[in-house]
């Protein structure tokens, strides 16, 4: 099982949520973060400079699909990074 992490600007929230729905991912966890990267600092003093971290657990194939989608739809327009970790979940049938 894979854990896909997406760190992305807050105003892209509904864009990401739409993408998740399209791919058929219904479970995810998300929380506000601050960050710094190639596109500058995201200090979160206003929603416009806010940052979110999405965490999605999914089987390998769906995780790959999600990352491909992110590469195509999110990378061109948003301050975003995406990475993947191996995890062992309880109740794998749930994901």
């Amino acid at each position: 099982m894979k854990l896909v992490t997406i760190v992305i600007e807050e105003l892209a929230r509904s864009t990401v949520e739409r993408a998740l729905q399209k791919i058929g991912v219904h479970g995810y966890t998300v929380f506000p973060v601050e960050g710094s990267g190639a596109k500058g600092q995201r200090i979160g003093d206003t929603p416009e400079s806010g940052n979110l971290q999405f965490q999605i657990i999914a089987p390998e194939d769906r995780a790959t699909e999600l990352m491909e989608h992110a590469r195509k739809e999110l990378f061109p327009h948003f301050a975003v990074i995406v990475y993947e970790t191996d995890v062992r979940v309880l109740r794998p049938e749930k994901f």
């Binding site: 105003l11 864009t15 003093d45 206003t46 929603p47 416009e48 739809e73 327009h77």
Partner: protein, 325 residues
């Protein structure tokens, strides 16, 4: 002489002083970071308070007085992007998406600029019509819609296809627009007794809350000052010249609609102001190919400070001139 005095009175008012303090905090890198929650909360408070009071004022004044200037405000908001867009593209050399996004910001309005203007005008004995927040409320969305349409029509096709339904939803039901219109309706229904019952919260501390909010907004704007240098002089020029032009047109229209001096100056201020809450959120969703640091820097770090310091006295001058014609 009178103009200098009007500027000075403005610069020494608590909201402007605290805005300056916030800018300084950012410049000296003081670790004065307001929690985002506080920013959101103060925004909600200001929008609800201004909407509610405006709604109660409409109930007092009657729709008969309000509809004409409100209609003019809608048209003005919708038209501004139509001349800003070609200007931004042809004269200032922005690409289609950026030009459309910036144009939308300048057609839309800034609630905090509106509030600062109302305070300023009241303190100089030229109170605007109490129902003027209706103009603010109806002027937020039209320009956003026009801007998105411009960007979609002339921008690179095929990119990120957000359904039109969602775009409309964001432009009409975005947080700030909904709060303003909703509080306006609530104020209209609750009327004067409703306002009196809640005046201890929506009226008494209002100016002070605005002052605190401007301290916070000063830190926000101050942190973005560095971006002005990066984006070159064209943003600076656009962001200070256009407000003056729009302020001049807006006051003309206000005067033509028969508003008072205060109301006319306020209409000019609305035209001159650029949105920095509703428009950025809508643009990031609908025109993600536009560069957000351009429109945020322009509206928040250039036009907003310009308007609340030099703009307000200027638009009052314009208003006096038009009405004296």
């Amino acid at each position: 002489m009178d103009f200098l005095h009007a500027i000075q009175a403005n610069l020494l008012s608590p909201p402007i002083l605290f805005f300056a303090l916030g800018v300084i905090a950012a410049l000296v890198k003081c670790d004065l970071k307001f929690p985002e929650t506080l920013y959101v909360t103060l925004t909600i408070y200001l929008l609800v308070a201004i909407g509610f009071k405006g709604g109660a004022a409409i109930a007092e004044a009657g729709m008969a007085k309000v509809w004409l200037p409100a209609l003019a405000a809608v048209l003005l908001g919708a038209l501004i992007p139509l001349w800003c867009y070609p200007l931004l593209k042809k004269v200032f050399g922005f690409n289609a998406a950026d030009a459309a996004a910036i144009a939308a910001h300048y057609g839309s309005v800034s609630a905090v600029t509106f509030i600062a203007a109302s305070n300023y005008l009241k303190s100089l004995g030229e109170p605007p019509e109490a129902y003027a927040s209706a103009f603010l409320a109806v002027m937020e969305s039209p320009a956003i819609l026009i801007g998105v349409l411009l960007g979609k029509r002339f921008g690179t096709p095929g990119v990120s296809s957000v359904p039109m339904r969602e775009i409309l939803h964001e432009a009409l039901f975005g947080r700030s627009i909904f709060l303003l219109l909703g509080a306006l309706a609530a104020g209209f229904l609750a009327g004067k007794p409703g306002l009196e019952a809640t005046a201890g919260f929506f009226v008494t501390p209002f100016q002070g809350v605005l002052t605190l909010f401007l301290l916070e907004l000063g830190t926000v704007a101050g942190r973005r000052l560095a971006d002005i240098r990066q984006s070159g002089p064209r943003l600076l020029i656009f962001g200070t010249i256009m407000p003056v032009i729009h302020g001049f047109i807006g006051t003309g229209i206000g005067a033509a609609c028969g508003l008072s001096i205060g109301g006319t100056a306020l209409m000019g201020t609305l035209a001159a102001s650029a949105s920095y809450i509703a428009a950025p959120a809508a643009m990031r969703l609908s025109l993600p190919e536009a560069n957000p640091s351009l429109y945020l820097t322009a509206s928040l770090a250039i036009t907003f400070p310009f308007n609340i310091t030099l703009g307000l006295p200027l638009y009052l001058g314009f208003a006096r001139w038009w009405i004296s014609l």
